[in-house]
């Protein structure tokens, strides 16, 4: 139970997982012809990103995507669905395709006129299946002792002190 709680509340991503994920995302961008893809956890933290969308601030996008996904979930509930697994926002030139990855995360794909929503949807379905496998393996792995350097918290406090000097 304690481990479960820890995993629920403190999301830890290790390098070996992210390396695998990054590879998949790179491949996805090439195949689907998208501009960029962001992997975001449900609490609104950015996990990793591939491709370049200079106008997008990744942290803000993550917060907005997680927020709108949560809101959509409430809409789904009204229809008796547990959630909607895909969301699509269409613009004049650029579009965002959002897709749920298992229980904990989602991807936001930015694409333009170089490709179509159908292509993005097609490849993202495949990507979701692969990502879910990685997530499942990662979540079953024994939680490692987290190895933030000793004194990390105190150093952050010092930094805050410094930053907030009035």
């Amino acid at each position: 139970m304690k481990d479960e709680k820890l995993r629920q509340r403190r999301l830890v991503y290790y390098k070996e997982d992210i390396d695998q994920i990054d590879k998949l995302l790179d491949e996805f961008i090439k195949l689907s012809g998208s501009v960029a893809i962001f992997l975001i956890d449900k609490d609104g933290h950015l996990v990793t990103q591939k491709g370049t969308a200079p106008s997008i601030h990744p942290e803000t996008l993550s917060a907005l995507v997680a927020g709108s996904f949560a809101a959509t979930k409430e809409m789904a509930r009204m229809l008796g669905e547990s959630e909607f697994s895909v969301m699509f926002h269409q613009g004049k030139k650029e579009n965002i395709h959002i897709s749920l990855v298992g229980e904990r995360a989602m991807t936001a794909t930015v694409f333009d006129t170089q490709t179509t929503a159908g292509m993005v949807n097609l490849y993202s379905k495949e990507l979701m299946t692969k990502l879910e496998v990685i997530f499942n393996i990662a979540s079953k792995r024994e939680a490692k002792e987290h190895s933030l350097q000793s004194g990390y918290s105190d150093s952050v406090k010092d930094k805050l002190e410094d930053m907030f000097k009035e």
């Binding site: 304690k2 991503y13 990793t48």
Partner: protein, 405 residues
């Protein structure tokens, strides 16, 4: 919280919670203002037309690399109004800590309690016990004339025994100390391996309670602090000025400041009197007044631009409107024959026209009649208001400390 060893990054989520209008968004705005540019991202607000938070406000802070880990705090606010319950819950998901912004206003105590209970329930739905999460309660709006003493607030609201701070978010006072305290409580949890360990409560910050408050006036039982007075001057200046330099108010002469203090005293007297009579401004009435002000502008953008340049919010307009509405309601009690006295006879109009004929050029009496009536009415209203405030002052004890202005 996310610890990402691949990106070498730690990311914490901190949520400002509290009843409507308690100052959550203001807190975030102050943080945005005060934090150095390279440490912050853009502030994003999903707000209604009336500038109330609809979904959330968001501000990412980046502390840079600390012991090899890029450290980030994502700050969120929730909408305070009771009817946004479901969006409030969504924003709370995965939060690592909460700053509960409480309104010190004596009339808001029930709303504070209700909101804190709402927080407790929403956390429970995510399987989190409130006493397992770092919570800091900020007693905000300490400068209000009717702010409850902290001891009373503690007794009524802080059943969690949470750490507390005092603040006047509108002037920026106490905002950063609150954030610092919440952040350090979250970080202390990082040290403990089990995330559910109880937080060390009651870690009070020394700032800003040690600051000695200077008062500019005592009005019956209420005191006006200098910081509140300065804020009042600033807002009055911004409301009246055509200049874009919002700091101009600092150039006020002592005479001008004395005049403003007079008007603030009138305002406090009005509030005291209306409270004693149990008179409250009707919210719809206030909104109508605010809207009629908004209609002076060609478009919403123009109004936003006007407010933005002066760093005013719709709430500032609402306060002004509330005062006008309350005056309208109280004045009838103090000057009972007011309706009669506002009536203007045609004889008066004719007399005024005769004595000011020069100013109207070659326009006929009929052409200018309505504008003459308007003028007389305005003068009459001004006289009546003066009389009204004189009456309020007659029965009050007012002390003014000129040297503190």
């Amino acid at each position: 919280m996310q610890i990402n060893y691949a990106k070498k990054e730690v990311s914490c989520k901190l949520v400002y919670y509290g009843p409507g209008m308690s100052g959550k968004t203001t807190n975030l705005e102050v943080v945005h203002q005060k934090v150095p540019d390279h440490n912050k991202g853009e502030m994003t607000s999903i707000a209604t037309e009336g500038d109330r938070t609809l979904f959330f406000d968001f501000l990412p802070l980046d502390l840079g690399k600390i012991r090899g880990m890029t450290t980030k705090f994502q700050l969120y606010t929730v909408p305070g109004q009771v009817y946004y319950a479901s969006t409030r819950k969504l924003v709370l998901q995965g939060s690592d800590g909460v700053i509960f912004v409480a309104d010190s206003n004596a009339d808001k105590i029930e709303e504070n309690i209700e909101s804190l209970k709402d927080l407790e329930n929403n956390l429970k739905e995510y399987g989190v016990k409130i006493d397992e999460l770092p919570v800091v309660i900020q007693w905000n709006k300490r400068d209000l004339p009717n702010a409850l003493p902290v001891e009373e607030l503690e007794k009524a609201i802080n059943w969690l025994n949470a750490a507390t701070t005092e603040a006047v978010a509108a002037t920026g006072e106490g905002v950063l100390p609150t954030l610092k305290l919440a952040a350090s409580l979250i970080l202390e949890r990082l040290n403990s391996k089990e995330p559910g360990a109880p937080t060390s409560a009651k870690a009070k910050v020394a700032e800003p309670k040690e600051k000695k408050e200077v008062y500019v006036a005592n009005i019956n039982a209420d005191k006006i602090s200098r910081s509140y007075f300065n804020q009042y001057c600033q807002i009055q200046y911004r409301l009246a000025t055509k200049s874009n330099d919002v700091e101009d108010f600092k150039k006020f002469s002592t005479e001008e400041k004395k005049k403003l203090l007079d008007s603030l005293i009138n305002y406090v007297l009005l509030l005291q009197d209306s409270k004693a009579r149990g008179i409250q401004a009707d919210k719809d009435h206030v909104e109508t007044q605010v809207k009629s002000f908004g209609r002076k502008f060609k478009s919403q953008e123009e109004l936003d631009d006007y407010l933005g340049r002066r760093r005013l919010t719709l709430d500032n307009l609402r306060n002004e409107a509330t005062r006008n509405v309350i005056i309208g309601m109280v004045i009838k009690n103090v000057l009972p024959n007011i309706d009669q006295r506002l009536k203007i006879s045609s004889k008066e109009v004719a007399e005024y026209y005769e004595s000011h004929k020069g100013a109207y050029g070659d326009k006929t009496y009929d052409q200018v009649k309505s504008s003459v009536v308007g003028r007389i009415k305005a003068t009459r209203k001004k006289e009546l208001l003066q009389e009204f405030f004189m009456k309020l002052r007659e029965k009050s004890t007012i002390e003014i400390f000129d040297s503190n202005i």
